[in-house]
Amino acid sequence: MGSVDRPRPAKKTAKSRRKSTSANEPEFVQLLTPEGQRRSHPDYDVNFTDEEYRGLYRDLVITRELDAQGTALQRQGQLGLWPSLLGQEAAQIGSGRAIKPQDTVFPAYRELGVQWCRGLDIISAFSLFRGVDLGGRDVAADRFQMYEIVIASQTLHAAGYAMGVAKDGAVGGDDGEAVIVYHGDGATAEGDFNEALIWAGVFNAPLVFFCQNNQYAISEPNARQFRVPPYKRAGGFGMPGTLVDGNDVLATYAVTEVALTRARTGEGPSLIEAFTYRMQPHTTSDDATRYRDEAELDYWRAKDPILRYRTWLEAETLADADYFAAIDAEAAAEVRELRQRVMDLPDPDVTEMFDAVYADPPAPLLAERAEAVAFRDSLDEGSES
């Protein structure tokens, strides 16, 4: 079986069989090395205020803590499942902060950090994985769609939505609207993803495909999903593809900004592959020890997105110990509040399974609803007596 090149300078995998593609693999876009050194790039840069630089750190840390709480709550039986983003914070915060208020986001199911960046209440992620609802929110107001479980299906929704944006004439300037859709490396093997590339290309949709390549689709490594990495696929669908260090919050910001600008100004779709690593198992149900080893985890621990960013902030004296302590305190408070809110989430009423299915519910369904309610009530009576 073929292995896919991982853009690791240190530990490059065996030569792949990709004779047909260009011999010089472009390096990924990186603005901050794992050691916390700033690097420059001919095409990409960021220009933040000190406040904004610090803000990114806050986002990274709070997201990590909220996510860790997801894992903890699941272990304590408060959630049915939790898909951790640990390790992918920079990919999500970097891209998430490049999104403007007028843009619309189509997430997969691991995008807690993006949701956070949008300034939204993240409780919906927890109600979903607690099983009290199916993740419904006011998506129109939020401009952040529902989490999507069926791999790659949201990429077509995003393409259609972006076609609608173009149809509305809402592209064409700096205040134009763009759409960004998040998906995994595994998703790139699905028909829907490739059809979405087709549609976005043919209709010149203002859409950014943001692939978090965390190197696994549950247990399966990249080599099982593709022979050459996703960013290379873009060209064959008529759009630019960019490979970025997904553990570098500055670089992911920079490339996403460029891609979103391209979309909002009417230049069409593009694809970003953020090369990162999922530090936790796929979800709390998964046992990752079956398919990867400690050495690999150690290798990626050394590339931690938060560590490198903090190192750099410290070196630049953009933040001091007090600041870091304040953020930790804020994160702790966020987590405390979240815990409480999750545990307070009320169980749904039996009627909730009937009431949202149709705008105009048919009579037979209303009869079933009445039956279910009567049945529930009869049990309640039974238990009371």
């Binding site: 609608g164 979405a196 369904l365």
Partner: protein, 324 residues
């Protein structure tokens, strides 16, 4: 009143939808310049432009998936699936997304998407062009499923479907496409989910929809010559089913025969028989019988007459029913 074919009636209905609602879109393979392989969308692109009548890539999952996205953006897409047998690549987007997103959202999102599907056999076509997949969708909670049997229903039901806030799978019986009839274009005679007594009678009730309503009516006429007075119900809506008039009819006649093209096993007839047997238990003089396609893939066209329910098979079932 105007006399027209079902194709013209659908075309007129779609035209009115596009005229009256800026957000309505038509999308599908070849729906633009060609006007669709059946010409149902004839001249609509010319008159409403490429932004409203969209020739899509050859990608059915893409058609439904992007229609969902467009609906999330406030559009009201009317999608065409070119033939019944090509709806399956879109199945995931239909049953896991179109059917479920509104419920997933807790009712905050509505997806007013119509999916038009020319369906059924009897036109001498090759494989995959004569399927009757309606039961797959009627079994899927979150969808509504309707079908027209004449130009008047075609004209009105497509407009009602487009006005629905719920997703509607709209089945068009392609072998009835060219049959002409009068259409009263001033007012809808029935609601979208109403069944219709196509012929009143007392001896037994024939229940059908779409392409075989005509078969049932012909059978009733033939039976009349033998002194049998058959009632014929055109279901029109397959999900939800308009149970009350059906039950009333059965209580009157005591006998029912369901007629459809789709495979018998788990076809619409099974739900009809199951529920009517339950609801009209004491009224039934005979079991609900079914005259349907056989449980085989739709055969080569030179065998389709043997496959499809026809007048003789329906009358035979009527006889069997009366023997109880």
């Amino acid at each position: 009143m105007a006399t027209m074919t079902m194709i013209k009636a659908l075309n007129a209905g779609l035209r009115r939808i596009l005229d009256e609602d800026d957000k309505a879109l038509i999308m599908g393979e070849d729906v633009g310049r060609l006007g669709g392989v059946f010409r149902v969308t004839d001249a609509l692109q010319k008159d409403f432009g490429v932004e409203r009548v969209i020739d899509t890539p050859l990608s059915e999952s893409g058609i439904i998936g992007t229609a969902i996205g467009l609906a999330l953006r406030g559009y009201r897409p009317i999608c065409e699936i070119q033939f019944d047998g090509f709806v399956y690549p879109a199945f995931d987007q239909l049953v896991s997304q179109l059917a479920k997103i509104p419920n997933r959202s807790g009712g905050r999102v509505r997806l007013p998407v119509v999916v038009r599907i020319p369906y059924g056999g009897g036109i001498g076509a090759i494989e995959h062009h004569s399927e009757s997949p309606e039961a797959y969708f009627a079994h899927t909670a979150g969808l509504k499923v309707v079908t027209c049997s004449d130009p008047s229903d075609a004209y009105w039901m497509i407009q009602q479907a487009a006005a629905s806030e719920d997703p509607v799978i709209f089945f068009e019986p392609k072998r009835r496409y060219h049959a002409k009839a009068e259409v009263d274009m001033t007012e809808a005679p029935l609601g979208l989910y109403d069944s219709r007594i196509a012929r009143t009678g007392t001896t037994a009730t024939l229940i059908s929809y779409g392409p075989t309503v005509d078969v049932a009516l012909n059978a009733a006429e033939a039976a009349a010559e033998e002194g049998l007075d058959l009632e014929v119900v055109d279901l029109r809506s397959l999900a939800p089913i308009d149970w009350e008039p059906l039950e009333a009819s059965l209580r009157k006649t005591g006998r029912a025969i369901v007629v459809h093209e789709a495979q018998g096993t788990l076809g619409m007839g099974s739900e009809l028989a199951a529920r009517l047997s339950e609801r009209c238990f004491y009224s039934l003089e005979a079991p609900v019988l079914r005259v349907t396609g056989y449980d085989v893939p739709y055969p080569a066209s030179r065998l389709e007459e043997d496959y499809l329910p026809n007048l003789d098979r329906v009358l035979d079932a009527v006889d069997r029913s009366l023997e109880y």
